[in-house]
Structure formats: structure tokens, C-alpha cells
Symmetry: C2
Subunit: 243 residues, 2 copies
């Protein structure tokens, strides 16, 4: 048996970050946390790219567990649509903005100036932090404790509202009411493999604005997924023109 | 502390399945295993749909961990491409065929007759079994012990061969040599969201046959992903016509 070694406390430089982000003091691998806050533009050999790769899967599993525990009566179709929203860069960027992770992120000044890449940079940092929480204990306990409140806040409006059960109907009602027009679906078969989970891709348009896209094993499933993304986008920003 | 209760051994009906599939005898939640082997066509209220939803994420995380541990020197781009192949229905169906899970799967005779849906049915069963292994212990230990040899067998040819590093070049060399023609990429921007991980989708065609498709944050990344799928498909079946 390995003797118990009391882990070192995090260095003072990381304490404000741990506190502000609401990360656990106990068991946290702060050397990995330091790496999770390093954008590739700041260091080519010690950055958060690998942690982000792992964290993407950690997030997906944690979101699945969260939804199944929180909404035992929802259908698998509902789970799939809500999870797809929860794991999106859009949701991760919102979480990143809320907890204010950006000021702790080491980024070159050139990369900082690339505003188009900012949402992805923030989303990646959240995924990297999730990987650190996972690796710190080898299971999802720390991940769920930290992430669940953020997911709950974002899942609740979706699950509570009827649009999740039939996003196409909900989007149609919204565009008819607000824009006096119907959304336009452009759907194509992108794989000839029957049963492929991404056999179809649908984009939903309102005038010149692409509101959202989605994939699915059937034409209908892809359009429902696109409609949910479109509903979210239109609720957040009703302007029909491209932004 | 909860008193230790010796778990019941699996019922005789499940023992041949546990043995043939090489599942662990210890700690396995065999009530969940029984459910994992129930296709929705055999039971609408107790089937493997929810387990498959969870198992999809379990697989993705296990594949990420496996690749990072097994190939510490590979790049994140390599990881992403190989993982995408490992978690595909195509790979899962191969594993399902190899271990012979189909004979243990409860399916209605009507569903059994739907041969186009068979690969997805088998792939879903594997994902459901992975969820059972995960839930049996609350971490990835049983999953990795069972899954790693299957992943190793399928990852090794990809990682060892140069096509993984530049699938477009590898596919082009292959089609030039075998078919005296070049692959044709049809790539479109499917999201206007800069930095979206699925901003572009590429399909790669050889004559009338769609060899593969892929998504990525850039045109190049989507085409590389499509090329890898195409390379795999063409190696498995060099016939240029649709199958």
C-alpha cells in the first residue's frame, strides 16, 4: 500500500482563481489546473489542448448522468437534444463568462486580439478545467459537484418548456408570431450508411439568417435538432438578419 | 457505513452471455446487463435505450483515456481523428460481430428482419453494455479492462500508419494507385459560428460513391476527418460503386 502523503496546498498564485471559480480546495490537482489555464498561444509544449480533448468527453458523460438523474421521466430524445445544447460551445462560453475565467487564462496578446476565436478559447478552458476535476479523483464526483449547478441553470428552461418535446412546432409558432414567416429547413443525406447517427444534416433558415443546424439518424431527428438550436438562437436574439 | 452484503451471483440464464462476452464476474450489475440486452422492439418500458444514451459518453471518455495513455506522443489532432473512428457505429459493429453479442440480444422478429438497422442495433447493444460496466462500479475501471483490448486492436493499424497524420494525402495516393482518379471533396459551411467545432462539413466522393464524411472547425479539418473515414472505407472495400 502506498503511504499517505499529505498533498501540498496550492501555491498562492492559484488561490484567487480556485476561490473565484468555486473549485474544491481538497484533492484538486493544482499542477494540472495551472496547465488547464495555459492557452496554446502562451506555450506550445505545456498548454491545455490535451486536457480539453479529455474534458470534452468528461463533460458529455457528466451531462448525461446529470440529465438522467435530474429528469428521470424525460425521454431519450429529450435527453439527446438537451445534452447537445449543454455541451455546446455556446453554453460553455456562457459558463466561462459567468465565472470570469478569462482573467486567469494565460494567452498571448496576439491570440487575445482574435475576438472571433474568443468563445472557443473560453469554452476550451472550461473543458480543460473539467478534465482536471476528473483526473484529480479518477471519477466524476468533483466534476458533478462543480458542474451540476451550472447545468441545472441551463437545462431547466429547456426541460420545463414545451419546445423541447417538439422544437419544430415551437420554432414555427415563434417565427409566425414574431416574423410573420415560416422557418425554412434545408436537409440533406450526408451518409449513405443507414442507421448512422449523423445520416442527415438539417440547417434551419429564417430569411438570410441560418438559425441553427443539427444532425440525426432520420430527416425528422436532424430537423428537430436544428429547430431546437434555432429556437434558442432566436430567443436569445430575435433579429432575423445575420449577426 | 453500509454493511457489506455479498451480491447474488448472476442467474444461470445470463452466465453463458457473461462468459462468451468476456465480462467480469465480480461487481457486475447483472440486472442492468439483462436490460442492456433488451432491444426496444422487445420491450417498450424496459429496454436498452437509456443505457445506450449513457454508454455513448462512457465510450467516448474511455477511448480518450485509452489513446492518451497508449500513445503519449501523438498529437491532439491524431487523438481526435482516431477517437472519431473508434467510437463510430462501424467500429462498434465490428466488436459486436467479434464477440457474438447478437444471439443474446432480445429483439422482436420484425426488428430482426430489418437488416439495414442491424449494425445500429448491434452498436447500441455494445454501448449499453459499456454503460453497465460503468454503472457497476461508478468509474471506468471495468470499462477499460474490458474495452481496451478491443480498442487496441482497432487503433493500432491507424496510429502505426502514416495516413492518420495526413489522411487527405493518403487517400489521394490510394485512389490514384487503385482507381486512377482523385477523390472529390464537397465541403460546406454549416454554421456561421466562428470556432464552432462543427463549423464545416465535408463529404468525400469517389465517382458515385460517398466514401465518408467529417466535420471540423475549419475546412481543412473537416476534409481530413472525411478523408480518414474514406480511407478506412476504401481499404475495407475497394469497390468504387455504392454498396
Amino acid at each position: 500500500m502506498t503511504p499517505m502523503i499529505e498533498p501540498l496546498p496550492p501555491p498562492p498564485s492559484l488561490r484567487p482563481c480556485i476561490e473565484q471559480l468555486g473549485l474544491p480546495q481538497k484533492d484538486l490537482n493544482w499542477e494540472l489546473l495551472d496547465q488547464a489555464l495555459m492557452h496554446v498561444s502562451a506555450s506550445t509544449d505545456r498548454n491545455n489542448e490535451r486536457l480539453e480533448f479529455l474534458g470534452d468527453s468528461v463533460l458529455r458523460l457528466a451531462a448525461a448522468e446529470f440529465l438522467m438523474a435530474q429528469y428521470p421521466n424525460a425521454t431519450v430524445g429529450d435527453f439527446t437534444r438537451v445534452r447537445s445544447h449543454l455541451v455546446s460551445d455556446q453554453t460553455l462560453t456562457q459558463i466561462a463568462e459567468k465565472i470570469g475565467i478569462e482573467k486567469f487564462l494565460q494567452t498571448s496578446s496576439a491570440a487575445k486580439g482574435d475576438l472571433a476565436a474568443r468563445p472557443k478559447r473560453l469554452a476550451d478552458a472550461i473543458e480543460a478545467v473539467l478534465a482536471v476535476l476528473y483526473l484529480s479523483r479518477g471519477n466524476l464526483q468533483l466534476v458533478r459537484a462543480w458542474l451540476d449547478p451550472h447545468l441545472a441553470e441551463r437545462a431547466q428552461p429547456l426541460v420545463a418548456n414545451p419546445e423541447i418535446h417538439n422544437p419544430k412546432t415551437a420554432l414555427q409558432e415563434l417565427t409566425q408570431k414574431v416574423h410573420k414567416t415560416l422557418p425554412d429547413y434545408r436537409t440533406e443525406e450526408i451518409s449513405t450508411d443507414h442507421g448512422a447517427p449523423e445520416r442527415f444534416r438539417a440547417n434551419v433558415w429564417l430569411g438570410d439568417r441560418c438559425l441553427g443546424s443539427g444532425v440525426g439518424p432520420s430527416r425528422k431527428a436532424a430537423e428537430q435538432a436544428a429547430a431546437l438550436q434555432g429556437y434558442q438562437a432566436l430567443t436569445a436574439n430575435p433579429d432575423p438578419l445575420p449577426t
